[in-house]
C-alpha cells in the first residue's frame, strides 16, 4: 500500500495578512526548493559525497512552522533537514559547505548533511538517528521553561519515527511537565522504501499524541497557510505555558529516500496527484488570484533566488576542504 493525497485533511482555508508576508513565505519555500535542486545535481555529479535526503515537496511544513518562530526559539531536525535549517534562518552558504564537506561549513565539514547544527539560529541539529532529535527539542523546552523567557521549541520528524519508543517516552514527559514544545510529524507516507500503512498500527497517528492528552491536529502539509494556522495555535499554547502540541502534517517527498534512489516502490499516478498540490504553486496562485503579487514579481523572486543559490554553489566549490588540524578539533569542549 502507498499513501494517497486524499488522506490529507483540508483545514479551513486561512487567509494571508499582507503581500509582504506572502512573499516572505513564498521566498522561503522557493529558496529550499532551489537549494535542494542544486544539492541533487551536486550529489549526482559526485561533488557532494555520501548520501543526501532531500525535502522537495515538503517545504510548507518547515516554512509554515519556522516562519512563526522567534530567533531564540529552537528546533531539532532529522535526516531530511535542509529545509528546516533554511526556514529557521540558516546561512545558505554554511549549509551547503557543510553538505559538501568543506571547512567553512557549520561543523567544519565533518558532519555533512546529517549533522547540521546552527546555534545562532536555534537549530539543535539534523540527526542520522530516526527519532533522535525529538528528546533534544524537548530538553531545550525544559531549559526554556526554566529560563522563562517564553521560548518554544519544535521537533521535526518523519512518519517513520512514529514507531520509535523514544517518541512516546518523550511525549509523556512533555505532557506531564507541560513543556513548550511542538511535535511536528512530516508524514510523507514512507520510511525509506516502506509504506507507513505496512508498519504503523492504528486508524490515525494523531492518537499517538492524544494518548498523552496532547492537543493533536492533522494538517494539510502541502499548504503553508494551513501549517501556519495550526502552528500558531500550538505556539501560543506553548508560550502561554500550556504545554506541548502534536501536528501531523500530511505531505509527500517528490524525490526518493535519498538522492539516487530509484523509487520503484512509488505509484506514478499518486506521485502525479501530489504534484498537483505543490505548496509553492499553491501559494503563488493564491498570491496572484488575491492580487497580492503579480506574475512578474513572482518571476523576479524566482530569478533572484536562483542567482543567490547559484552564487552560493560557485563559492562553496572553491572553499577549502578540512585540514588535518580539523580532524580532532572540538572532540572535547
Amino acid at each position: 500500500m502507498t499513501s494517497s493525497p486524499q488522506m490529507a485533511t483540508v483545514s479551513p482555508v486561512p487567509s494571508i495578512a499582507s503581500a509582504e508576508e506572502g512573499l516572505r513565505l513564498l521566498r522561503a519555500m522557493k529558496l529550499i526548493r532551489a537549494f535542494e535542486e542544486q544539492v541533487r545535481n551536486l550529489s549526482a555529479a559526485g561533488v557532494i559525497p555520501g548520501l543526501v535526503h532531500l525535502c522537495a515537496g515538503q517545504e510548507a511544513v518547515a516554512v509554515g512552522v519556522c516562519s512563526l518562530l522567534r530567533a531564540d526559539d529552537m528546533i531539532a531536525s532529522n535526516h531530511r533537514g535542509h529545509g528546516h535549517c533554511l526556514a529557521k534562518g540558516g546561512d545558505v552558504g554554511r549549509l551547503l559547505a557543510e553538505i559538501m564537506g568543506r571547512r567553512t561549513g557549520y561543523g567544519l565539514g565533518r558532519g555533512g548533511s546529517l549533522h547540521i547544527f546552527d546555534a545562532a539560529n536555534g537549530n539543535l541539529g539534523t540527526t542520522g538517528i530516526v527519532g533522535g532529535g525529538i528528546p533534544l527539542a524537548t530538553g531545550a523546552a525544559l531549559s526554556a521553561k526554566r529560563q522563562a523567557r517564553g521560548q518554544v521549541t519544535a521537533a521535526f520528524f518523519g512518519d517513520g519515527a512514529l514507531n520509535q519508543g523514544l517518541l512516546f517516552e518523550v511525549m509523556n514527559m512533555a505532557a506531564i511537565w507541560r513543556l513548550p514544545v511542538l511535535f511536528v510529524c512530516e508524514n510523507n507516507g514512507f520510511g525509506e522504501f516502506t509504506a507507513i500503512e505496512d508498519v504503523t498500527a492504528g486508524a490515525d497517528p494523531l492518537a499517538r499524541g492524544q494518548a498523552f492528552g496532547i492537543p493533536s491536529e492533522t494538517v494539510d502539509g502541502m499548504d503553508v497557510l494551513a501549517v501556519r494556522m495550526a502552528a500558531q495555535t500550538a505556539i501560543e499554547r506553548a508560550r502561554e505555558g500550556n504545554g506541548p502540541s502534536f501536528l501531523v502534517c500530511k505531505t509527500y517527498r517528490y524525490g526518493g529516500h535519498h538522492a539516487g534512489d530509484k523509487q520503484d516502490y512509488k505509484d506514478a499516478e499518486e506521485a502525479k496527484a501530489w504534484r498537483l498540490k505543490d505548496p509553492i504553486e499553491r501559494l503563488s496562485r493564491l498570491l496572484k488570484e488575491s492580487g497580492l503579487a503579480s506574475e512578474a514579481a513572482i518571476a523576479a523572486l524566482t530569478q533572484e533566488i536562483d542567482r543567490e543559490v547559484r552564487a552560493v554553489v560557485d563559492l562553496a566549490k572553491v572553499t577549502p576542504l578540512p585540514a588535518d588540524d580539523d580532524f580532532e578539533a572540538h572532540l572535547y569542549a
Binding site: P49, G50, L51, G101, R102, R103, L108, G109, R110, G111, G112, L114, H115, T127, G128, I129, V130, G131, G160, A161, N163, Q164, G165, G191, E192, F193, T194, D198, V199, T200, Y265, L321, P322, A323, D324, D326, F327, E328, L331
Partner: protein, 330 residues
C-alpha cells in the same frame, strides 16, 4: 568439499541465508526494508520472493522492540536473523541483548535457549559520517553469553553465517559494508566455518599481524609491501572475537616473536587491548618487542573527503610500523 565459485561477500552471506532458510523452516529474518526492497545494501535480495512475508519480515523503525520480539521468538522455536541496518544503531538493542538474550540460557539453567543472529553493517567508508560508520564490536565481546564473529572474506562470511544460524546461542555478526563487493572463491552448497577458529591467511617468520575483518586485507597488502623489504609477515585472522582462538594466535606469535594487532573500531579500550594483553601473557618470554596495537582513530568518524581516510590505518602505515617494530625501532 563442494567446488568453489567466485562471488561477492554480499552474495556469499545471501547464499548462507538461502541455504539455511531452505534447510530449516524456523529461520526467519526481521529488519527494516529487507523484504520486497531487498535491503538497503541489496543484502537480502531474493529472499522475500522465495520465502514471503511470513519469514522475511519488514519491521517498523523500532529496533529495540523488534529485537525483543526476536528474543521471545528465539525462546519459543524460531531462529531469527535480526538485522540492524547500520552498526551504529546496535546502541538501541543493548538492553535486550545484554540483559535478556545473553543471560536467558544461564538464568533458566538451559530451559530456554536463545538461538538468534544479530547481523549488522559496519565500517568506515563512503562518507556516511559519525552516526553511520562506527563499529562497536568491542561492546558485545565483553558480555558473557554472547558470541561475536567478524568475517573478512566471502567464504568465511558464508561459513560463519551458516554457523551462526545453527548455533543455539545469540551470535552477533558484523559485516564491514566496504567488503560487500569483494569477490573471492566461495565453496558452493553447504559450507560451515566453526565459530571460535582463527585462520592463518599468510605465513611468515618475522612478525605476526593479527587483523580483524576488513583490516585483514589491509594487513595482507602491508605484508606484500613488507616482503619487498625482506620482512616476512604472518597474517592471522581471528574471524571470531568471542570465543577467541587464543591458541592459534599465540602459536603464531611464539613463532615470530613480534606481534601487531589491527582493528577498525575506535582504538581506545577497543578489542586490541584484550588481544594484545592475552598474547603478551601467553607468549611473554618469546616477545622481542611490546605488542603493537593499531586501531581506528579516537574521534567521531568525520564525513569529509579529506578526513575520513585518516580514520583507519592503511597498508603503508601498517607496513611502516611493522618495519620499525621488526628493526627494533620501537
Amino acid at each position: 568439499m563442494p567446488s568453489p565459485h567466485t562471488i561477492t561477500y554480499r552474495a556469499a552471506v545471501l547464499e548462507a541465508l538461502f541455504g539455511e532458510m531452505r534447510r530449516d523452516g524456523s529461520v526467519i529474518l526481521m529488519g527494516e526494508d529487507i523484504g520486497a526492497a531487498g535491503g538497503v545494501f541489496k543484502q537480502t535480495e531474493g529472499l522475500f520472493a522465495e520465502f514471503g512475508s511470513e519469514r522475511v519480515i519488514d519491521t517498523p523503525i523500532s529496533e529495540s522492540g523488534v529485537f525483543g520480539i526476536a528474543v521471545g521468538a528465539a525462546m519459543t522455536g524460531q531462529r531469527p536473523v535480526f538485522e540492524v541496518m547500520f552498526g551504529d544503531f546496535i546502541t538501541l538493542i543493548m538492553d535486550q541483548l545484554v540483559n535478556q538474550a545473553a543471560k536467558i540460557n544461564y538464568m533458566s539453567a538451559g530451559q530456554f535457549r536463545v538461538p538468534l543472529v544479530v547481523r549488522t553493517a559496519v565500517g568506515v567508508g563512503g562518507n556516511l559520517g559519525p552516526q553511520h560508520s562506527q563499529s562497536l564490536h568491542a561492546w558485545p565481546v565483553h558480555i558473557p553469553g554472547l558470541k561475536v564473529v567478524m568475517p573478512a572474506t566471502p567464504a568465511d562470511a558464508k561459513g560463519l553465517m551458516a554457523a551462526a544460524i545453527r548455533d543455539d546461542n545469540p551470535v552477533v555478526f558484523f559485516e564491514d559494508r566496504m567488503l560487500y563487493n569483494l569477490r573471492e572463491a566461495v565453496p558452493e552448497g553447504v559450507h560451515v566455518v566453526p565459530i571460535g577458529s582463527a585462520t592463518v591467511k599468510r605465513e611468515g617468520r618475522d612478525v605476526t599481524i593479527i587483523a580483524v575483518s576488513r583490516m585483514v586485507h589491509t594487513a595482507l597488502a602491508a605484508a606484500d609491501l613488507l616482503a619487498k623489504e625482506d620482512i616476512s609477515a604472518e597474517v592471522v585472522d581471528p574471524r571470531s572475537l568471542m570465543p577467541l582462538d587464543v591458541e592459534t594466535l599465540v602459536a603464531s606469535v611464539k613463532k615470530t616473536s613480534r606481534a601487531i594487532v589491527v582493528d577498525g573500531g575506535y582504538r581506545q579500550y577497543g578489542i586490541t587491548g584484550e588481544i594484545a594483553a592475552t598474547v603478551a601473557e601467553h607468549a611473554f618470554d618469546w616477545l622481542d618487542a611490546p605488542v603493537l596495537r593499531i586501531g581506528g582513530a579516537n574521534v567521531p568518524i568525520p564525513f569529509s573527503k579529506t578526513l575520513e581516510p585518516l580514520v583507519l590505518p592503511d597498508a603503508q602505515r601498517l607496513a611502516r610500523d611493522a618495519t620499525a617494530l621488526v628493526r627494533g625501532q620501537r
